[in-house]
Symmetry: D5
Subunit: 168 residues, 10 copies
């Protein structure tokens, strides 16, 4: 049985209806069930055995659900499994939900980090790994919370496979 | 005495002259000295007691040098300290070196992570921290290298102070 | 009991329906009730114990309502509290209601101030506070009216926490 | 005789040479003299009897110098008055120094305030003043610093004449 | 009693339904009544005691109707006054109906005049009035028709208050 | 012999060097001579028998000089006629000096008038003239100054040939 | 009685429903009737005594129908004349149906011709006609088909009145 | 021996130096020689046995010169053949000289024709030729002048090979 | 009788409903039938005797169906032939379904290849074929899968007719 | 000893100087030597043991040279090896040489293929490989020429590693 609400005490995240036209049909289905059952991504992620960010991405149509994910989602959200199967069967059409540059202040800060440190990341990565890129596909990410006397700190980790440019 | 070259065996990062018009006067000064002395950011970062990404950002005009940084840079790069003082005295005019969306494949992958996972990050951060943002100012970042049987992995950590929206 | 109309004698602000698709579901709910009851933001702000701009931002989906705000809004606007709770439970997805550069003449003037004086603000702020930014999150703002023999003057105050760039 | 440096102890603001192509000829003249003499905008503003932001705007070519300003600038910066007269004689061609949306984090925060609160400002201003705009021309602005136990706060005041739309 | 049709013999202007989503609710109401009653802006303008361009702007949601305008509009268009009051009570959210650069050939020609002669206007206005702007708010405009042996000429007059930049 | 300075007492308009790369070679030639001789466009326009705006447009490379204009310009500006002939012999490559939307506040106000009143102008012009456009080529424009108790007013007149769409 | 289908044997052109939101109400009316009756623009153009391109433009809301056109369209398309009169009574709001640069390969090729040969056209037109433009209003255009041993050739003719810039 | 000036009596077209940075090295070479020798494109085109528009395109770097063209250009322009060979040896990098949408009024009119009639051209071409495009590569174009009692008319002919989409 | 599912074992591709407004009416018809019958593009392509990419393009409204294609599609998808005939009768309005630059990671990689190697392709093609282009119309493309010890490789072949620029 | 010219008989590709500001310092060095020695990419590619497209990309700063490449380039181009080492030592800053959408007709055709077939490629790749992308990094490409009775055909092959999205 799943806990309701978040462990942090903050309200759960819900869907702003004004972005629904940019999302797949599964997004309102999933978010409405999440809201009715008052479940956090932490709770749902545990039920799926996945990272919270991956699950939130799945809700926004940015990650693919496996058959087990669908089964688990149907159970934890008390949704009809065949409806979920139908709505989640496709391959995600990623990236369209977000306008770039992002107007949302939280997302803008992440964008700004890339804008400001992009070349610095490249220079250091090149020196450590050679000519190539960090994959955004063979990739995982997670969010952690740290607290010290100055307050709370968000720690985002990006971990991607290094792909050297092929010589041809 | 500083080591030359990188510890990874890959060549050091140098400056593409075609972006010089978008950089402050200090950037070509610093990068030329780095090239002549064949120093990695790892070596320079140790000399300054700072993170590699911070030092690379400083070279690209995206971070401010403290008076000690200037002294140390002058020493490790064998540059005239008063020249560096003059070129690094201002406040960085950040962000202008990068076109967005980035065309550089490595930087684009980072941008794409924000584009694809932006709302997922927001949803999870909101559930963990409430309504606010992760600061990109009261912020640090670092790059680590992990290697397993599948190859090399780049791990980028973003750590920022959580700032709740003020109620007014 | 709340006063109707504005204290200035000017009509109250209502919602242009053509921007509704860019706003959360709560915006038409709130603005319709405001129109029916003919309440100014001044009156509603008093009922909530908040600044007028904060309340107008809340109506446009740009600020988060606390549980007390929801209770007070339900009362002053004579709206069903559970409807408001449901529509205002999420975290604001800020910034999407406004096209930039703004076409609206009033908002454009504010944009133009930033466009014209942006570097001047930066230079003076840097000299007063060092390298950093004025937070737009740990932030409040208000509007006051002054009148002299030349006519009316709008006075907008922006007050934000100074955040120095972290050294790392 | 003018004081050198800033009263805050932070270094003075100087000019990033990479934006010089977007500025009038007077900007490098003024900024170089300011740097050589190590003068803050506060000091120069006192010498001119103007607001710091106005003086910084003048340095960036965003405000017009009066004949007295030119005389005072020549004196405080130890510059040739006829050179300044020649370089400052024109009418400012405002706004071109800034890319919008701004990439500079400090200026972006100000832009974001307009982006997020633009309609809220409009609604409250309309209710207080009727149909019109706050002038950005018949306008003044200033920056103040406040300090409390939470740290430093930047306070920016925008004061503009209210202009009602003409009926015709 | 109002005349039907235009005095020029050309058909009256009606509303292209494809821009309705960018207009306030009042626009289709007004334009439909105008079409049914076959009234020109000249006729309606006389009934309101306003300029034709102002009335057309009001129909497109770009100008505010006074209470008398609403009364007169209800009468001349045979519309329910309370409906008009409700739809025209807000403050215009100006500028959003037009994409810039305009694709419409007639409007593009006006845009092109600004594009080509913008700096010339500025230079001549500066020499005649000093440093400032011509207000677009404290402003009126009208269209006149002249005919000579070469054909018809449209004469558009723009009249705006001169606003000098404040010294601060 | 030409008068120096403007009749209004305001300084003459000069050229901001930062837009020179967007202008033809004739522009700096003409503006420098104008500055040295301290001539207003009013004075030069009289010498050429043309409108001030036309002459300013010619200085900005937006209008063609006739052989007589070149002769007169050489005389009034004390420039070498063959140099002017060479620099002014081509056909103007119009429109490139201005970024649109204009950032300059004065020019933006004119742009905003088109943005806000564009459809209103179209509707009224269509009712007065039928389906067509007001030419921006077979076109003249002028600026006048009016003064009343409220202050100064700028009056800009646009006069263009009406061109009906051909039926084919 | 009108012939059905095209004389070339190719299917008739119909309307892609996804651009309907960018077209006036008359466009789906006209195109549906054209499809039901299986009429080519050639056939309809003959019935109206106009060029095929003009008629296709009329169907896309880019040209004005005369009263006779409306009568003829009603007859050839077997549509209710009063419906057509109502839908075609306005003045075309031209240009909005097309995104520029065009994504459609056929239209892009025309755009590319202007992009590549624009300055060449200007130079040759200037040498032949002086300083001015070729009108796109006092203008006609047609398409012809030529066939030789290499295959089919499309020949598009643009014919516009030459308008010299007015001297003022 | 070539005639000087144009047959129309209008001055020859020359190069606006402000677009030189967007053109290949051959463009200023060719245009300067053209100016010195006062040759029209008509005269040069005759010497090359090519269309005027093709020659103007070659001057702007938009068409390739054959070895015979280079020989003929060297002769008619009295230029060093080996210089021309060197500067004209590459493959044109087409399209970069023109900003789109074009700001130049003459070129804009051509762009506007595509914008307004693009879909009409497509519909008529599809009905005449089937599914395909008119080639802009296997393509020629020319300009003719017609004069009637109404004035001068520019006639531009575009002739391109019809390419049907391959079935695969 | 057609096989269901893909031969690779991966699920079939379906349609993300959020792009339906950018597609012709035929796309949802075709994709829904494909989903109900669980058919891969491989299976459908065999039934039509066409390449998989061509069939997928047809489903997205980017390729024209021949009468035989329509017959075969109706059969394999068990759809009403006359409905398909009606929905597929028009000429494709290509390119509008895709935003450029593409946000979808898979499509972005293809875009990036053009961005990075565009000039390299041009240089090599020019050396092999002369001045011209590779046609995207007289063109075919296919996807193949190769597997080696490093994993799977996607091989995309683009084959287009070489079109030399016409000399004129 | 290397052959001069191309095997096709077409001239070799050279560098348009107007894009030099967007390229690294190595590009003009390499292209000038190539021009002087009249070498095709085919010849140079053989000397380096690499694909022609890879070598052309290296010339445009889009691919990294290995130490052996530098040695071979110095030899085949008769360039100073230490100069090449210095200019080619950095990591390529890819993508900046190309404006997107490309204006160059040849490159545009490739872009258009992605624009038109992007979703079709995605659908077919997903069905063949599952959820993932074709790498543009672990990637090679080549150009071949085929000739049949219809003319020449360019065949471009793109071959990339398939990367499945990580599950996390």
């Amino acid at each position: 049985m799943s806990a309701t609400g978040t462990s942090s005490g903050h309200p759960i995240a819900t869907l702003d209806t004004s972005i629904v036209p940019r999302l797949p049909a599964s997004s309102p289905t999933l978010f409405e069930a999440k809201k009715i059952k008052n479940l956090s991504f932490e709770t749902i992620a545990k039920a799926l055995g996945r990272e919270e960010v991956a699950v939130a991405a799945l809700f926004y149509g940015q990650a693919k659900a496996s058959p087990e994910d669908i089964k688990n989602l149907a159970q934890v959200l008390e949704l009809d499994e065949s409806l979920l199967e139908s709505q989640l069967s496709g391959y995600p059409d990623r990236g369209r939900q977000m306008e770039m540059p992002p107007k949302e202040p939280l997302v803008y800060r992440l964008f700004e980090i890339i804008q400001n440190y992009g070349y610095a990341y490249k220079a250091v990565l090149n020196e450590k790994f050679g000519d190539g890129i960090m994959s955004a596909i063979s990739f995982s990410t997670k969010i952690e919370k740290e607290t010290d006397e100055k307050g709370d700190w968000a720690v985002i980790t990006l971990r991607g496979k290094w792909l050297p440019f092929s010589r041809f």
